[in-house]
Every structure is written in C-alpha cells, then in structure tokens.
Symmetry: C2
Subunit: 394 residues, 2 copies
C-alpha cells in the first residue's frame, strides 16, 4: 500500500460537500463538474498527478457523495486515496486518451445521462486550467437536454476559509518554506552556478522540517536575475552568479498540497541605495497590509493600505498585490478567487489565507518581499519567518 | 540580465515558422492561436512559468514572425527570451487577470481584429491544457466574423521530428535522467523515509551532469509503492520504506525544457519470482519495440512488437505503450501527437523521439521498465543508460 494516512476524516469531507450543495442550490445548479485538481482533492481526498488527462469530480445535490471520473489506470488511485464507494469511482476507456475524434467526456456525458441527470442544470468550471475548450464541446454535445452555465469557481470559493486541520497544514507549509528560503540564502554566492541554489531549494522543499515532509509545489522555483528581476516568472540557467547583481527568489513550502509561498530579493555585492530604499518601502507596505487583514475588512482595503505606503513614496504597482492560497496543484498556487486589488470587496474572515506579493517590477530591476498569512483578529499572521529586508550577500 | 544563452539561432525559428505556415495553408488556416507553452517556446523561444494565465503565440500566414500575447508583467520575459520585434510582443491589461466578467482574450480578439484578421479562418488548439472553455468562449465572441475550428495540434505535429540541435538537448536530458535514476537507486533502502529518495532525485535532476544543468520537469517524481504500484500516478508520503516491498520510480531528465523520461521498478528484499518474471518480459517487450522503431515502420507496429511478447507470455496491457516526447511544460511531458498504440499509423522518421512506457499495472502490483529513445536507421537509440531489470535492494 501507498501508506497514505488520509488527512481528513470522512466527516470533514461530508461537511465540505454539504456546504457545496448549499451553494449549488443558491446558485441554481443540480450538478457541478469539477475539473480543478484542487477541487477534486478538497471534495474527496483524491490525489495523483493524473490531471494531464480529462478527469473530474461530480457533485449532484441529491447524491450523497461525489462521483470520481477519470482514466482507468487512475481509478485505483481513487480507491486508495478517497473514501468513495466503488459505485462512485467511474473509469473511462483507455483508447479515448488523446484520441483525435472521440473524447473521454463523451463517456462522461453518457455517465451523467445514465444517472438520470441528462436534463440537469449543470455548472462547469469554465476557466479551470484543465477544462479545455474540447472538454466543454464534447460534454455539451453529449447532453443536449442539459442546461449548462459557468459555476464561477463555486468550489474554489467554498475553499476560501480554512478549517483547523487545513490551517495546521498551512503552518507546516510555512515552516518548510522558511527552511527552503534560508537554504537558498545560504547557498547563493557570486560564482556559484545558478542550478546549485535551485537544487538546494528543491532538496529543502522536499525534506521539509521535523515532523513534516515537503510535497511538490504548484510552481517551480522562480529566480529572475539582474535585468530579469524586472519580470517575475523567469527560471534558472547554468550560468554562475556574477559578483554584483540582484536576484529574486520565489518559492513555496508545501505540505500535503497546502502551499505557503514567499519571495525574497537578494543583492550580491554592495547594493545601490535605491534598491535598499525600495525594499524598505515594500516591507512597510506589507506591514500596512497585514495590519488591515482582519475579519470584516475587505480584500481591497488590504491593497489600499499597501498602495498608500507606495504612494507616499512616489511608487506604484499596477498588478494585484495578492491572492488567496491553500490547496493547489500545478500550474498555480493561487486559488483563483479573492484578490487583493481595487474592486475586490470580499469580506475577510478568520482562517482565510493570502499571499501578499509585495513586488515592484520597475523598468530595469525589481524588488519583491512577500508574505503568506492567515487572517486573524489581530491582523495577518505570517506563515513564514525569513529576514524581512533586502538580503545582502557581500 | 537573466544570462540566457538563446538555444537556437533565428534561422531555426524561421525554418520552424515556415514549416508551420505550410501546414496551415494545407489545412486551410490563415491564423493559428497557440496556447500550449511548448508550442509557444518552440515557435519563438519564449520561456517562463507564466502559463497559469491566458497567453498565446499567433502565427498568421502573411505575417513574417509570430506575435506573442500575454500578461503585461511577462512581456519583459518575452523581450528577454525571444528575438521578436517589439511590435510583435503585445501585453494584456493587468485587471483582466482572473476577472469574473472580462477576460484577457477579449483583448486578444481586439488585437486580431486590429491587425485586419477579423474574418480569418482561425485554428485554435481545442485540447491544449490551458486553452480553457472560457478562453474559447471569449475569443469566439470577440470575433463574430472569423471562422473558428480545431487546428488539431498542428504545431505539436510539426515538432515531431527533432533537429540536430534538439537531439543534442534530448541526449543531455537522457544523461541527466540516468544520473538522477541512479541516485534514486542508491538512496532507496528499507527504513528510509520516502521524501529522502525524492529529495535526492530533485537534487540530481537539477544539478544535471558536467556541461548540462537540469531544468524543471513537466511531471514531479512519481513513486507508487506496494499496492500503489498497481496505479501509475501516485506521489510520495513521509512514511519509511518497509523491509519488503515493491516501488516504481518514474522521472525525467530535462535539459532546457527537453525531456527524457524513464521508469524503473525496485524490490526491497528478496522479490517473489512472479515479479522478476514480469520484469523480464517487460524488458524483452521493450527490446522488440526498439528493434521495430526504424524509419518507415509505423507507431502501431512498435506497439504490436511489444504486444506480441506479452501475448506469448499470457499478459496484456490495454493502455498505449508509449508516446512522442521532446519540449514540454507541466502538466505532461508527452507531445500529444503520435502514440504507440493500435490504430496509430504515424510513419516513423529518423529524429522522432518516444517514451516506451513498458508498464504492466496488474491487479495487486505493477512493473514498469521504460526507455526514452530516438528513431534511427538501426532502431530505437536509448537516451538513458540504467540497469534494465527488476532492481533488487536486498
């Protein structure tokens, strides 16, 4: 056996599914099709790197438990990682994998019809990463009498407030991230090939901390260097670090698929005063945001508190300053729900988690010093504990 | 600067784009929208972990070079990693990221229209992993006079035969994979916590081999254990390996996004004879497949050669036995084109690369001993060099 200790008791899954059914009734759905792997895991416990083929979890308001639908060779993974009864684990035929004409969702449509749900009001995740245009075309074609609409990430929104069990994993993830970032900072030196720092990060992310091994992250370690720091998503090469340069490292600690991301900016050699000044403003802005992150305030108020600090210092950041985090699979550790940005009036509640990505990508360089935090009565509680400043390796 | 040495000369990108335009003319497309990150990279050199937001490369038959379209903060990455002229790098507005009503592809539609392509015959990648139902809905709504259809992975098919430069990277990837798999085999022992083996794999994958650092893989290390070996996509936990168990490790070596995957099966303690027998059959089947992998033979003939060995031994495998490999991004290192399976009549050519996944997932256990290979006149040339047998750690 894979020796998975299941993380959550059946009662927690039951509570989650009941909450989702209430949201479905309010939104007018009989059935939802959840292809986001994080939604599949959150609803059932299903875990495996099988999301490169079409697969989903169905929730019907009148069916007690969800139905897992996926590739035949992954059905055994569903039996191992979930408590679903056999009847609710339905494999599709192997020849449908990457078939040019037929598609696994032809069989999904047949399954839905066979359960008597062919005329249901069906909510699909129109913008979930793996719910492709072709998935949608085959599903809708196969169910001509159903009424389809976008469920607007209904399950993602249900995931926003974390349970105590989930928060314990988030705190583990924060400790893992702290260890991995500190390893990176210890390793980065002029002359060191870039891949050595990344290897140290991967090792620390995976070994984790005493009592909590690490899991794979939804995003690989990001490490823009020099001029590259003016854009956030570049990865490493095998060039050595020069004597005098700026580097940005963005990574997550991950515990059983729960993510705590963190970004730090490092200067090799004596930094120009300008960079140090921007770093101080970023940290001050984060602190203003954290102070605002209390239940009852809104997501946009957190952003406004950060933006006020920038404005006072004649800086601005156009992109959103953060997003909700939690359970995640590649390619993104954000939950695609609440964003810390103008216009987002999501009311904060205790137990929501965010990554405040205090990044300033200026014309020729960038500085980012972020924090992952939990919303509490006292403001945002930081999940990681790494030096909060421009880190200088001299 | 990020210190990217660009991997391919402008002439190679030009050749690729010209080949794609010929395929477009043959298929009746004026314009294609390529969202598969591997297609974006192959056509332009663009590289960055930004594929969690909508982005694409456009190829129009009458426009000399492709057009990159993506998030404003990633446009700088396009300037750094490609040779595209400024005019062909078009950012979308930041507030469109994960916006509930508007979508980046509203602006993509406007861009296409502004270039005079509003009535074009447009081929989209209906089943590319990140081309969501919502991307398609916004793009088609924004271009009511265009004629949309599935381009059936036109660029993926153009990638099938690798250039000499690409083959050099594939061979580097094979050497990296060999090193990483051997590190895993050295590390796995009864009593060792699972994450230690995974940490060793990540470290070796990233450090690479002399002259070739490793890159992130499109799939995390997979390691089903015990009963879990009867299903292929499970990942590790923090339990120690028991004294007597079966484990399967599937990883890739990756060089500048080119992948060479490999699977090995390891028994801790003295293995039951049955498992060793199945392993021998798997290797014999792979050898039969490799011998058939010559130019002029078809993909299905490789599968048939493998299947004949199984049949002679009263075994069968229903899933496809392999797929083309090369440039890849998460969540899959397969190219989604030719499969080694019945009915696939793709004629093999020198320079095509495949992963023959000789996996037998039986009821209670599984054995997989795979190879990545290049099609040559002498048959499949293996890219990795790891012991080809049931590996016993006693």
């Amino acid at each position: 056996m894979q020796m998975f200790e299941k993380l959550f008791l059946p009662a927690e899954f039951k509570r989650r599914v009941q909450d989702v059914k209430k949201r479905m009734q309010k939104a007018g759905f009989d059935l939802i099709v959840c292809q986001d792997p994080a939604n599949m895991c959150w609803l059932t416990g299903y875990d495996g790197w099988s999301f490169y083929v079409p697969q989903c979890v169905l929730v019907h308001v009148e069916e007690e438990m969800p139905v897992w639908f996926g590739r035949a060779q992954d059905a055994k993974s569903a039996h191992i990682t979930t408590d679903l009864p056999d009847r609710n684990i339905v494999p599709f035929s192997e020849p449908l994998v990457q078939h040019p004409i037929n598609h696994p969702y032809d069989e999904l449509a047949a399954l839905i019809d066979s359960r008597g749900w062919g005329k249901a009001r069906i909510g699909v995740e129109m913008d979930a990463h793996y719910y492709t245009a072709r998935c949608h075309a085959h599903l809708t074609r196969g169910l001509p009498n159903a009424e389809f609409s976008n469920n607007a990430d209904l399950v993602n929104w249900a995931r926003l407030v974390k349970s105590e069990g989930e928060l314990a994993l988030m705190r583990d993830a924060g400790r893992i991230c702290t260890a991995a970032m500190n390893r990176a900072i210890e390793t980065i030196r002029p002359g060191v090939p870039q891949q050595m720092v990344i290897a140290a990060i991967y090792e620390a992310q995976t070994l984790g901390v005493p009592g909590a091994a690490g899991d794979y992250a939804a995003i690989c370690p990001l490490m823009p260097i020099g001029e590259g720091t003016s854009t956030p998503h570049l990865t490493w090469s095998d060039q050595p670090f020069p004597d005098n340069t700026l580097a940005m490292i963005e990574i997550a600690g991950v515990r059983r698929r729960y993510h705590a991301p963190l970004t730090r900016t490092i200067h090799l050699g004596k930094p120009p005063a300008e960079i140090g000044d921007v770093a101080k403003i970023a940290v001050e802005g984060v602190d203003a945001g954290l102070a605002m992150a209390k239940p009852g305030n809104t997501a946009e108020q957190v952003e406004a508190a950060w933006q006020a600090v920038l404005k006072r210092n004649a800086l601005k950041k156009e992109s959103r300053v953060g997003y909700s985090i939690g359970l995640a699979y590649p390619p993104d550790w954000g939950e695609r729900t609440a964003s810390l940005r103008p216009g987002d009036k999501t009311e904060l509640q205790a137990g929501m988690c965010f990554h405040i990505q205090a990044g300033l990508w200026l014309k020729d360089f960038g500085v980012a010093i972020s924090e992952s935090f939990v919303v509490t009565d006292k403001g945002g509680e930081r999940l990681c504990d790494v030096a909060r400043e421009l880190i200088v390796v001299d």
